[in-house]
């Protein structure tokens, strides 16, 4: 008998809904924030948003708890105790800004390079970078150097785009999707959404990953590869495809530099460079006219193989021939690599056969006419429905740049770039290959304060673009764009503190950090980093890094190590811009950018970092931030800048609603109502491409003309895939002593070895130096889908899901080592040891252990109980990762990719052994608890959130 109970089924638990952009991770989903009496009550996905289309991940839904976290800093702080003590005094903003201005002004007047300004997961890089240009320091970068610069750089050099923000699979049409080294972080909602759709459509998903979690778990096929050997796997696929003639020759000769002739003159200064005509055009051999012609001409039949004689008598061969020779080598045959990669030769061969079948037997054709760069109209758009996506598992290895290039080249060989069913660029990509943008900041002598000539981060195409002194030594504090890391397109944030503490290449005055937990999970080798931050001069007792300014919204592990804290707001309290000038939120068929706006006002003495930076710029009198009369250029702070700043005439941070009437897209005068229009539109603007612009963007006249019009590109030329990457050969020639550039002795052999213009696979450097019997296992980390970096641990909801981490060991391997589920084990690398509790699992490569990243916390950090499981049972693998490689030839190289400087934290090699009975139960190393900083409140014991503000404690 059911008695009807009257319940309220239409409660209205909100009085307002505001749209903005999520910042619980880097995905930039659109969200709707429900508010009641000014309190955030509910956050859900925005159905109209191009990124997430209404869905929202666990982090996004837990935004409320982030926003109301008791770890939020409450006012500016000035350190009063020794560094690391957590002893601070609260400051008024005016005092804090005055102090920061004094410090920064002094440094700028003496030598601007002595400011190292590094921002972490910063989504306002077009502002922060611009500020650093105006300040005049060459020492600026964000976190890309330890994130995924290999992926970005290899893609940009090779195909003018890459994965994630640069491009993605054609989810609607692809039939075969390969996922390399992807844990669950980047592009997380879009990927999940599309994987669900692929499953629904029955497209095959293959995941190549040492660990079978998340996406790998739902893949049709999981290949538990040995870390750092993906390049061998891809090389074996290429071997099979070439051997069987399953490459798209037509596509290659149209869109890649396959036919470009490479000079074969081993003794000469130009060996390995492209043969060029008098106008610097690369040459091909035209089989119709039987002569050398500019490779850029549309109507030739260029030879892809053969040996040809240049006018000066030197020999030259097409790049494709060199590439084929490289990969037809039996060393790359499936049978040769299978044992090393941990995947059977049979499987490798089958995957190659499946790729060939899907690409060439299941070609698709859409009724879309398009016109190519040479003006030829194609009635249909055809595509080879194989697509790929790769991320950090590939890039965070010292062989990552080459492996990433191999993946892109595999796509090119199959003819799947920007076609239906293949990989597709997102505007403003693709860009010219190799990229035209060069790093700025090269200095001769110490010039006084003046702006840099251009952006800090760029893409060198030869030794002449490096930021080095005549002796070959580095000019940047992180040694980016030096011989240590010539193609360091995102800088090397992970080396800054180490280098600064050693005054190598020079000491600095001010370390200015934003949103990067460098004293904990964002650094390799945490203990040394803390030592570097607290190191003093033996004579003076002064800190070696004299001043540290830090902006963070929360009481992270890094706060106690800074001198001046400029507290930031939460993401719901600020303006922000996901700009076309940086990395926007475009989709393959549309160009989009987005904003954040304050949906609630801060209740603490905190200010958005971008406002603070603009104000500091004005106070310092930086050009572009202050007018001639000394007044601020943007008195309204960041929103003022977003609307009124123009990078070039008509081009500003936002593309939508430009022009005085708000009707222009892309280029137009600043519109004072631009931000209001964005807010009305759900905080994003989406410009849809026309049908004829959608595919083959690298060679699509209509798209490229549009890109030029929008200022995304300088010229509307065809973008040519660089199978053979000539710039690398230029570095190699220099290392061989050819040409004017001095390569310091210790770098010569390294550059010669790794700067191969064709992709190679080489053993990860740590494995080569400290692998073998002593350290038989790989150790890698992944980021859990419900937790992003360290931000999550303060979150009352997310920390329940991941309050600690385990070390996962292959069940069979664990048994052999006498390790049972729940045992505490020592993980020892050449650098150090950490103790963690083990869990056995089947879904992990036999030679690999792994854990979730950034769960372990310092006791007391993030305003958690010092006995929190994060601190007692959670651990970081960072403790056993060194920022430097073991010594070789009297020099310790950075533990990074030798080409890009990407931190090679997935190269880690370890051994494991069971801890003694008396050692069970707690992690090691243990750190002194972090004192609760001034102004921070004791967190409430219980949280019973019901749309009111959670109890604030005392």
């Amino acid at each position: 008998m059911g008695k009807a109970v009257k319940i309220e089924t239409s409660p209205k638990t909100w009085d307002d809904i505001k749209h903005t952009t999520c910042y619980m991770c880097a995905c930039r989903c659109g969200i709707k924030v429900y508010l009641k009496d000014g309190t955030v009550t509910y956050i859900e996905g925005n159905r109209d948003h191009p990124v997430n289309g209404g869905v929202l991940c666990g982090k996004g839904s837990a935004g409320i708890m982030q926003h109301y976290s008791p770890a939020r800093l409450r006012s500016p702080l000035l350190r009063v105790g020794p560094r690391g003590s957590g002893e601070f005094r609260e400051l008024e903003w005016e005092e804090a800004l005055r102090l920061a201005t004094t410090w920064l002004a002094q440094t700028r007047n003496e030598d601007p390079k002595k400011l190292a300004f590094f921002t972490g997961r910063d989504q306002s890089q077009s502002l922060t970078g611009f500020w650093a240009i105006q300040y005049g320091t060459p020492n600026y970068a964000a976190h890309g150097g330890f994130c995924s610069v290999n992926m970005a750089a290899a893609g940009l050099y090779t195909i003018g785009g890459s994965f994630w923000e640069f491009g993605e699979p054609d989810w609607e049409n692809t039939k075969y999707f390969m996922l390399f080294g992807v844990a669950e972080e980047h592009s997380s909602n879009p990927l999940k959404k599309q994987l669900g759709k692929l499953k629904e459509r029955g497209a095959k998903i293959v995941s190549i990953n040492p660990v079978r979690s998340g996406y790998s778990a739902i893949a049709d096929e999981w290949l538990g590869i040995r870390p750092g050997t993906d390049g061998l796997f891809v090389a074996a696929l290429i071997h099979e495809l070439l051997k069987s003639g399953n490459v798209d020759l037509d596509y290659l000769q149209r869109y890649a530099n396959a036919s470009w002739l490479v000079i074969d003159d081993p003794e000469g200064d130009e060996h390995g460079l492209f043969a060029r005509d008098g106008e610097d055009n690369p040459l091909s051999f035209d089989k119709i006219s039987q002569s050398l012609k500019s490779a850029l001409l549309p109507d030739i039949a260029p030879a892809l193989v053969g040996e040809f004689t240049l006018e000066d008598g030197r020999k030259a061969v097409p790049a494709f021939q060199l590439l084929s020779q490289r990969f037809l080598d039996e060393g790359y045959a499936p049978d040769a690599v299978s044992e090393h990669i941990g995947i059977s030769a049979e499987t490798v061969k089958r995957i190659a056969a499946e790729l060939a079948h899907t690409a060439f037997k299941e070609e698709i054709s859409l009724d879309i006419a398009w016109t190519d760069w040479a003006g030829r109209t194609h009635e249909k758009t055809t595509g080879r429905p194989v697509s790929m996506h790769a991320m950090r598992g590939i890039s965070a290895h010292s062989n990552g740049f080459h492996t990433c290039r191999m993946i892109h080249i595999l796509q090119v060989l199959l003819g799947t770039i920007d076609c239906p069913g293949g990989f597709r660029y997102k505007p403003p990509y693709p860009k010219q290959t190799p990229p035209w943008l060069k790093p700025s900041g090269k200095r001769s002598g110490n010039r006084l304060a003046e702006p840099l000539g251009g952006p800090h981060l760029g893409f060198p195409t030869g030794p002449e673009d490096l930021l080095v002194n005549p002796s070959g030594s580095a000019q940047r504090i992180d040694k980016a764009f030096s011989w240590e890391a010539p193609l360091a397109a995102h800088g090397l944030m992970h080396m800054v503190i180490n280098n600064a503490a050693k005054a190598d290449p020079y000491p600095i005055d001010v370390l200015f950090l934003y949103m990067a937990n460098m004293a904990w999970n964002s650094s390799m080798n945490v203990s040394a980093t803390l030592k570097n931050l607290t190191g003093t001069h033996p004579d003076t007792g002064e800190y070696v890094i004299p001043k540290v300014i830090y902006s963070d919204a929360y009481y992270s592990e890094t706060v106690p190590y800074a001198d001046l804290i400029l507290p930031d707001t939460t993401y719901l309290e600020r303006w922000d811009c996901i700009s076309m000038l940086d990395r926007p939120i475009s989709e393959p068929d549309s160009a989009s950018d987005a904003i954040r706006h304050p949906v609630v006002q801060p209740d603490r003495e905190v200010r958005p970092f971008q406002d603070v930076l603009i104000e500091l710029g004005a106070r310092l009198g930086l050009p572009e931030f202050s007018n001639d009369d000394g007044t601020p250029t943007y008195p309204g702070g960041y929103p003022d800048y977003l609307v009124n700043h123009e990078r070039k005439p008509g081009v500003g941070p936002l593309t939508g609603y430009r022009g005085e009437d708000g009707q222009s897209y892309g280029v137009g005068a600043p519109n004072p109502e631009q931000l209001d229009r964005y807010i009305e539109n759900g905080c994003f603007y989406q410009h849809h491409l026309r049908d004829e612009q959608r595919f083959y963007k690298h060679a699509n006249r209509d798209y490229n003309d549009w890109a030029v019009e929008m200022g995304h590109r300088m010229l509307g030329d065809q973008i040519i895939f660089q199978l053979y990457l000539e710039p690398l050969q230029k570095f190699r020639l220099a290392a061989q002593g050819k040409g004017p550039d001095v390569v310091p002795h210790e770098h010569r052999q390294r550059v010669e070895t790794y700067f191969d213009p064709l992709p190679i696979w080489h053993m990860p450097l740590e494995e080569e130096l400290a692998g073998g019997e002593d350290y038989p296992l790989h150790a890698v980390t992944q980021r859990p889908m419900a937790m992003y970096h360290s931000w999550g641990s303060q979150n009352a909801w997310l920390r329940q899901i991941h309050g600690r981490n385990w070390v996962y060991v292959n069940a069979g391997r664990g048994e052999e080592l006498g390790i049972a589920d729940g045992d505490w084990i020592w993980i020892t690398s050449a650098h150090g040891k950490v103790k963690a509790q083990a869990k056995l699992m089947d879904g992990v490569n036999r030679d690999t252990i792994w854990t979730w990243n950034a769960i372990g916390k310092r006791p007391g950090a993030w305003n958690l109980d010092p006995e929190a499981p994060e601190a007692t049972k959670g651990f970081l693998l960072n403790h056993v990762i060194s920022e430097l490689l073991p010594e070789r030839g009297g020099y310790r190289f950075s533990n990074s990719d030798p080409i890009t400087g990407q931190a090679a934290w997935y190269d880690l090699r370890v051994r494991i052994e069971k801890a003694a009975p008396e050692e069970q139960g707690k992690t090691y190393p243990s750190f002194e608890p972090q004192k609760r900083a001034a102004g921070l409140r004791r967190p409430p014991e219980d949280v019973a959130f019901k749309g009111d503000k959670p109890g604030g404690g005392v």
Binding site: Q800, I801, H802, G803, K839, M841, G843, P869
Partner: protein
């Protein structure tokens, strides 16, 4: 299952109280020669109703809202817990009247005897309901067993009898058959408990993690990750388990040091007389109490809830 002390105290104390009440009520109906002093009903019925009341009160300790406990009388049509509440409260009426009549020298009357019978029935129904609260739960194999409710009944009688005999003896009114009955009930409890344990140890454990998740046709299932890294309510409430060895020891304590010792003391009392007999019978209360408390603790601790399968236990 988590052995909550309030529930253990409730079921054992009220069990003994109802047992004693039932014996007194039945005794009245069967013309047992009770001591001719109002002290006896005062002490004996007082003890019975006291134990019942303490037990019932303690059972409200584990409620989230004890002040709403009255609501529990409403769902007697479907809920054994509600039935238990109704029966428990209803039993106070005949038991109270029974006591008042006894104290008012109306004992021996037909009405008094009828109230005794009604009290006994009430006690039996209440204990039966208590047993059925557990016995009806199909989620716990060790509880959803035909012997669970009978064991509750027989333990109520035997612990009640363990109180009844020394009380009678203290007033000089104990008869050997009373002791035989008490020892017999305790012996019955031992026997039933042995059969019960033997049975739950041997029963095929048909429910597995594979069956629970439905993933069994795909192979052996093991939990890699629980939903959260700290234990949740379900794990804390339902996930309690004790080792086989530990359980075996406690079973021995229950049977030998508890019920066995109590029966032995009662058997010895049959041979003794006077204060010694009273002393022996009184001494049997402690082991009987130990036995029933350990029994009840094990009843919870050894009960494995089906939900533990989702949390990684292989069998339930």
């Amino acid at each position: 299952m988590h052995p909550a002390y309030s529930v253990i105290l409730f079921t054992t104390a009220s069990g003994a109280g109802y047992g004693l009440l039932a014996l007194l009520g039945l005794g009245a109906a069967l013309d047992v020669e009770f001591p001719q002093t109002y002290w006896f009903p005062l002490v004996a019925l007082g003890l019975a109703l006291g134990l019942i009341t303490v037990g019932l009160l303690s059972s409200t300790f584990h409620l989230g809202h004890p002040e709403r406990a009255w609501r529990a009388f409403s769902q007697w049509r479907s809920s054994w817990l509600s039935r238990e509440g109704v029966a428990a409260v209803a039993t106070y009426i005949p038991a109270g009247l029974f006591g008042l009549m006894w104290l008012g020298d109306w004992d021996g009357t037909m009405t008094w005897q009828s109230l005794g019978v009604l009290s006994a029935i009430g006690a039996a129904v209440t204990v039966w309901c208590t047993g059925m609260i557990y016995g009806s739960l199909t989620t716990i194999r060790q509880w959803n067993h035909p012997l669970v409710t009978p064991v509750y009944m027989v333990l109520a009688v035997s612990t009640g009898a363990s109180l009844f005999c020394p009380l009678m003896a203290a007033f000089g009114a104990v008869q050997p058959w009373h002791i035989v009955m008490a020892a017999g009930a305790m012996g019955g409890a031992i026997l039933m408990k042995c059969v019960y344990w033997w049975s739950i140890d041997r029963e095929p454990r048909v429910l597995t993690i594979e069956a629970a998740t439905g993933l069994g046709r795909r192979g052996v299932v093991r939990q890699l990750e629980a939903p959260h890294t700290q234990e949740n309510f379900v794990q804390r409430e339902m996930g309690y388990s004790i080792g086989r060895k530990h359980a075996k020891k406690l079973r021995a304590v229950c049977l030998v040091g508890g019920f066995g010792l109590a029966t032995s003391l009662q058997a010895l009392a049959l041979l003794a007389q006077g204060p010694l007999q009273t002393g022996l019978l009184a001494a049997s209360i402690a082991p009987a109490a130990v036995g029933v408390i350990v029994e009840r603790w094990l009843f919870f601790a050894q009960a494995q809830h089906v939900v533990t399968l989702f949390y990684g236990k292989h069998f339930a």
